[in-house]
Symmetry: C2
Subunit: 342 residues, 2 copies
């Protein structure tokens, strides 16, 4: 039997050669059923597509990679659907890639750039300020970071989309102050966090200072351990440490809703009531918050809108159109059932 | 200037040629900092690695792809970390790929097999019985499906790991019966669901039949719409429809905890109390359940153990070792605060 060609496959499947080619390269316009039939036939006939041509195609894949740090973080959940819709609607493939808390997202991005050569990258979470990201500029991959904004964006072909964590944090603390709370404990992230957790802690400090309230370092809780601070467990454990210190405070500001959820659980177990005994607030505006009892006072981030904008900015960068390097959204103060007047 | 070779890069970076090669191909044993320096230098010198060799390497990538259907489903969250740990610990790359609710996961798997040729695939969710999966056998990619078990696994180099949804569902209904509930409404998934949702509904029917309780089709709620039934919103909306029918029932069995969370929210809004007015139960044992008020009576699935086992079975298949085709875990009846005697 002579060598099987693409024409043999096309003939046997009763389709054109270009359809077979589309099947092999998974062209966006091919019907997946047709494709399955063709792939079966290829296997059956033992046809081997010219591998150089195939590899070339693979290098040209139209992929947008979404790198997420902290996939356990419920905050990113509603973004996935928006990102995938927008990315595929615009003719790209959507690839979601997870970065471990202790890993550097840029290392993962570089690995990915070798493996699949994406047309662009969207970072969900992680630390923006990382100088390493300049490497992406050098290897020519455009990227957008969300949900964090950085004022000094010097890297070419990149942008950031998010809320201003510092200002939003001030907004939250000002709300607590407006209720008469002056002694506000804060549960932050790692002490060496250079990202959103610390921006929120800094916003807290600034709001107090602007209101002539001295900062009590005892009321500022951060962790040194290598643990994920955006979890229920972290809040659940940390509130015990805070209460054991027998400090005087009337409100607890958790830098994420996840932390607040853990805190409220532990308070309930101890017979401590919120807001009667302590006002408790979070940050993020998780979807689950609407279903909690009590609902938590928080800053709602417009996550769907942020995801949509991140995509559009990235597409503009890729196609050489003008784009905004920094897109700042405003958060919404959501008054739930965990806050009351002092 | 003569053509830049890999030796020039090695010399300038003060590393060996094999280290440069490792950097280019992202060998697991290369330090990522070293790799970044080398990649920068490659860019700087304008060195182009032999593309045929690179493409060959790319075909040999050691990737395990994890395909998840319903990434919004909180149930899968705790599995990610386990899967990534196990996959990377065993020298493979971890790739997470999302499948839309309306898409066929096998189409996505085929696309992936063209793009990156994974060594194996783990499916999280989706429908196992799909005949299409035979294509994976044909193209020679081993796979494991979790969290669903199928009795008749005829496909070579594949396995399934999960709980027996039918039996576990019976366990839940038997518990409700033991509390004296005889009229039990059930909120299921789509009427045409051939997967876990329907197995749970069938388990409910079987438990009633075995206890000589006639099945009232009015109390069985499924949806025909193209919506994701494993969401809070679905439960929130559906309980209204159920209550509007003014049917007589004392317990509500939701085929997922997510549905139960939505149901409980709506009941609270209406001033209806659980368990006083209705006992409400879920299924899955979501992590968030421990933090809810009230906690929901549910079937806890051993998700971490299931993920670990799925990996180990897949590794055994890949390395030609013996493996169990069907691994069934037992679920745990968790008695929360939403159930009481009739």
């Amino acid at each position: 039997m002579s060598k099987i060609t693409i024409r043999d496959v096309a003939k046997q499947c009763n389709v054109s050669v270009s359809t077979v080619s589309r099947a092999i390269n998974n062209h966006p316009e091919i019907n997946q059923r047709t494709r399955n039939i063709i792939l079966k036939k290829i296997k059956e006939l033992g046809y081997t597509p010219n591998s150089n041509a195939r590899n070339l195609k693979r290098l040209e894949t139209n992929t947008i990679a979404v790198l997420i740090k902290g996939i356990g973080n419920l905050f990113f959940q509603p973004m996935f659907k928006v990102l995938e819709n927008e990315i595929t609607k615009n003719g790209y493939s959507f690839l979601l890639y997870k970065v471990e808390e202790q890993d550097n997202e840029i290392d993962v991005a570089l690995k990915l750039s070798q493996d699949i050569k994406p047309k662009g990258i969207i970072f969900l979470g992680g630390c923006f300020m990382d100088e390493d990201k300049k490497i992406l500029e050098e290897i020519g991959i455009p990227f957008v970071v969300t949900a964090i904004v950085s004022k000094n964006m010097s890297i070419k072909n990149s942008a950031c989309v998010g809320v201003d964590d510092f200002l939003e944090s001030k907004k939250m603390v000002n709300y607590l102050l407006s209720l008469g709370h002056k002694k506000i404990a804060i549960i932050g992230s790692r002490y060496d966090d250079a990202s959103i957790g610390m921006l929120r802690v800094n916003g807290y400090k600034q709001a107090l200072t602007e209101n002539n309230i001295s900062i009590d370092e005892n009321l500022i809780f951060t962790t040194t351990k290598n643990e994920d601070p955006y979890t229920f467990e972290y809040g659940y454990k940390t509130i015990d440490i805070l209460l054991d210190k027998k400090l005087d405070f009337s409100a607890i500001y958790c830098v994420s809703d996840a932390i607040a959820i853990g805190v409220l659980k532990r308070l309930r177990e101890k017979g401590i009531k919120s807001p009667r005994d302590y006002s408790v607030v979070g940050f993020d505006g998780l979807e689950i918050n609407d279903y909690l009892n009590p609902t938590i006072t928080t800053i709602k981030q417009p996550v769907e809108n942020m995801a949509l904008t991140a995509c559009n900015v990235l597409f503009n960068i890729i196609s050489g159109k003008p784009y905004k390097k920094v897109v700042t959204f405003e958060g919404e103060l959501f008054v739930g059932q965990t806050t009351d007047k002092r």
